[in-house]
């Protein structure tokens, strides 16, 4: 083949370019430590790198979400365990006060009041900006000091509403749970022309009366939202039209202490998986919970039982106990059976032993029968209920008060279920211990309710742990996949680089010698 000078030159330049470009590629990979430095280096790997990064970004977010919900749950658990301890304390007080004197019981009642206050502040615990137990409502503390009747709050309007007329709420709320009702205007206009949808869960879901879900606002402006909730709009003689997307909402609260709602907070913890992480105040503290006990009502009842010694001085409710009242109708005798009897024993104020006596309780046994028994137990004395509801025993001869007697309720042949010391001027209490023991039973149920919720927290935590472990393991495998896809094998590259370096040096030395031999050298 005929070789000309420009051929030699071109070939050398091309080869040098080629070697230099290879050298450059390898040294770039070494200095960035990556084998994919732009998409064209390996398009498939570039796509995979981006997909892996997206997966990792999502996982980072899921982990953050799980950390947040975990700390929420652990705050909830701590609060629940404090609540449990308080119920324990309350129970101890209740049991310890059975048969105690008025001052002790008053003191105990004050203690219970403290527990109620602490329990309320526990139930109103805030974590961050939100209440732990108010569901999704954060504008109101979940538990009030006093129980409220069922209420319908005044309606509220969204900040940017067009409607400048008036809206009022009315009606008596008959719903069993707290709800937020919302009305959304779907096409603007005056009353009678504008259309609306309504929601009973604050706007999460809307009424669907297919095929046309939008309702026309009534001309009289009265919109009934169910459960007795009514909103009445007035566009002031047709001068204030509604705007599309105007929102009106009203909170309705069932009777009781709870003000929050029944919605749970949830958070995405994995692709397509949302975990509810909050417990509502309703399921922890009210009768809607697993134990069916309203904790605040129970504590208040206990306190009342301790504070007032007139607790049993009513028959079947508000009717005062009289001599004619049947024993079985008196509060505290709800567990009455025909085999029960009242057992009397004790000493009078003069130190004389009162004769041991019993009174069998039948369907017709009255308080009068019991009073008669008490009177005869003291010998010549008269027992009665004074106008202030207190038991009075007077010696018929001396006119002195004589009462110092223990009255017990027993089953035939059994031992005393509960006894109570009576002193002079004591309120007529048939069986305060029985009343207290009912409260104690309720407190036990309340504790069980708290435990159930604690267990639920544990379940949630365990679930989060499992998900987090999975996600973390997945993240690790993504990391190693990412490294495999994108990171350069430095050892291999270093070898290649030194080989290319040799090639490059050789090319240079050949280039320097190029044309150093030609016939011209010999034409001297």
């Amino acid at each position: 083949m005929r070789i000309t000078d420009s051929m030699r030159f071109n070939t050398m330049v091309n080869n040098l370019n080629h070697t230099q470009s290879d050298y450059n590629e390898i040294s770039e990979a070494i200095s960035t430590q990556k084998k994919v430095n732009r998409a064209s280096d390996d398009p498939v790997a570039a796509t995979r790198i981006l997909d892996i990064r997206r997966g990792k970004a999502a996982i980072e977010q899921y982990k953050q979400n799980m950390d947040i919900s975990r700390s929420w749950i652990s705050a909830t658990e701590t609060t629940l365990s404090s609540a449990y301890d308080m119920l324990n304390t309350a129970m101890g007080i209740a049991l310890g006060s059975a048969g105690a004197d008025a001052a002790t019981r008053e003191n105990a009642a004050a203690n219970i009041q403290d527990i109620i206050d602490s329990m309320r502040s526990l139930a109103n615990t805030k974590w961050g900006d939100r209440y732990l137990f108010s569901g999704t409502r954060e504008d109101v503390a979940p538990f009030t000091v006093a129980p409220s009747d069922a209420t319908i709050d005044p309606p509220q309007a969204a900040g940017s509403n067009t409607f400048a007329g008036t809206v009022v709420s009315s009606g008596a709320y008959t719903g069993g749970t707290n709800k937020t009702y919302a009305v959304k205007i779907t096409s603007d206009g005056l009353l009678g022309a504008a259309t609306y949808k309504f929601s009973t869960d604050g706007g999460r879901t809307w009424n669907t009366n297919a095929p046309a879900p939008d309702l026309v606002t009534p001309a009289n402006g009265v919109i009934s939202l169910g459960d007795g909730v009514t909103l009445t709009f007035d566009d002031v003689s047709g001068t204030n039209p509604f705007g599309e997307n105007d929102v009106f909402y009203v909170n309705a609260t069932a009777a009781g202490y709870y003000q929050g709602n029944d919605e749970n907070l949830s958070i995405p913890v994995n692709r397509g998986t949302n975990d509810e992480y909050s417990l509502t105040g309703a399921e922890v503290f009210t009768a809607a919970g697993a134990g069916g006990v309203d904790i605040f009502r129970t504590l208040h009842a206990l306190k009342d039982a301790l504070a007032s010694d007139a607790i049993a001085n009513t028959a079947g409710g508000s009717t005062p106990v009289t001599a004619a009242t049947l024993l079985k109708d008196i509060d505290g005798y709800t567990g009455y059976s025909n085999t029960d009897y009242v057992h009397l024993e004790g000493t009078d104020t003069s130190g004389n032993v009162v004769s041991d006596d019993t009174l069998a309780i039948t369907d017709t046994t009255t308080v009068g029968d019991l009073l008669g028994k008490i009177g005869s137990a003291f010998g010549n004395a008269t027992a009665s209920i004074a106008s202030d509801g207190k038991l009075k025993v007077v010696d018929n001869t001396s006119g002195a008060s004589l009462l110092a007697v223990t009255i017990g309720i027993r089953n035939m042949g059994g031992s005393s279920d509960s006894t109570l010391q009576f002193n002079e001027g004591q309120t007529f209490i048939i069986d305060q211990a029985k009343v207290l023991s009912d409260q104690v039973a309720d407190l036990q149920k309340a504790q069980k309710q708290i435990l159930v919720n604690q267990a639920e927290c544990g379940t949630k935590t365990a679930h989060l742990d499992i998900v987090k472990n999975n996600v973390t393991a997945f993240n690790e495998s993504l990391s190693s996949l990412l490294s495999e896809t994108q990171d350069a094998n430095i050892t291999e590259l270093a070898m290649k680089l030194s080989m290319k370096e040799i090639a490059l040096k050789t090319s240079y030395s050949i280039a320097a010698k190029l044309n150093s031999t030609s016939i011209l050298d010999f034409l001297r």
């Binding site: 998409a39 064209s40 997206r54 977010q61 900006d129 999704t136 706007g203 958070i267």
Partner: protein
Amino acid sequence: MSITSLLSTARDTLLANQMAIDITGANVANIGTPGYTRQRPALQSTGGGNTGSAGTQLSVTVDRIDRIFDRYIESQLGEQRQNSGYSDTLLQGLNNIQLILDDSQGGGLNEQLNKFWSAWDTLSNNPDGIVERSALLSAAENLSGTIVSYKSDLDSVSANVSQNISDIVSQINDKVSQISYLNGQITGMAGDKGEKNALLDRQAEALKELRSMVNVTSIENADGSINVYLSNGDPLVQGLESHPLSVELDVNARSIVYSDNPTHVPVNSSLTSGKLGAYMEMQDTIIPAYVSDINEVASTLATRVNELHRTGFDAFKNTGLDFFTIDADPTKAAATLSVNSVIVADTNRIAASASVTQDGEMASRIAAVRDELSMNGNKATLNSFLSAMVGQIGQQVASAKRDNEHQTALLNNLTNQRESISGVSIDEEMINLIKYQMGYSAAGKLVMTTNDMLDTLMGLLS
């Protein structure tokens, strides 16, 4: 045969060798001239021998000056320069697009999108948080800003391409008029003994340069002129006539190329190779495809987020607000994407909740759009669509690169083949120089010998 005729022979020899040395000199002088074809003197013996009349009169003359070339390789080389021109330009243009779209090193649209979704998730954890709300706003503004800048970067690549198209078209017109001028020179010059060699070299080189810019077919005429046609048959050069191309911009600032055919029909579709072909493909196919991808991303993002956001409730319990504002025309989607100015003015207007209570549920529903198969006929998520787009440009660049390497190797090979045939070799020229110099010296010796012969003859007379 007379003695003096020997002097004629010597004279012819001297002249012929001198011309051969001149040609060698020209070859050496043009060793670096692009397109130069080495030339050779075609020596021819003259006269006729007639021993019977002792009148042998043999001599030498340079009959023609030959250009040494291989017509097949020349035409292959033209074809290859066309392919290489296309491949070089396409690679360069695709590299520019890759610079815009490739975020495999992070910091691009994919990452902005990831941050956007995470910001919604974070907001759902604390729907009241002012910090979370403004973090979301800035993530959303970065995202929309990045989409807008992708679009405007693609637009500026397109504008560059358009500028390059008019540059290339004017270079093409330049070559077209050069070829028609050379056609005139070649046909106007008499003789076929090598007088036109330089013109033919320039004509061939001009044609090769033209072919590197655009795909044309050429026909060589008997008189040495060439006609050049576009692939649709519209002439660029016909003998002495040149037919320049012209460029107009359409409403989308895209270049439309016309031949001077009176029907005034665009010839874009005929420009498929050479540099112009590559620019045309960039302008008419490649860039519009990416622009439409970006528009689709912008409009899907805005549509899905807005659909959800409109049903959510903001901190003031308002509903029905769009999160993004975007032009309804899908071809303007990416350029007009921005966060609703109401939200920019007050982040409390972000609808984070699904109900009038601040439940943060809408924020997590919007964050879940990240896993929705909303793109590519409901087969891809926004993110996977974007990463596939990066893969696609990477693939295009990689295959353009491979093609370019292949084309460059072919071009080098053909160039070497041409150089092997038509290129100047110093060694060869030097040896020729020695040869012709020896011829020249020998002719001088012939004159001296003739002189001596004449002297001898004259001596006989004295």
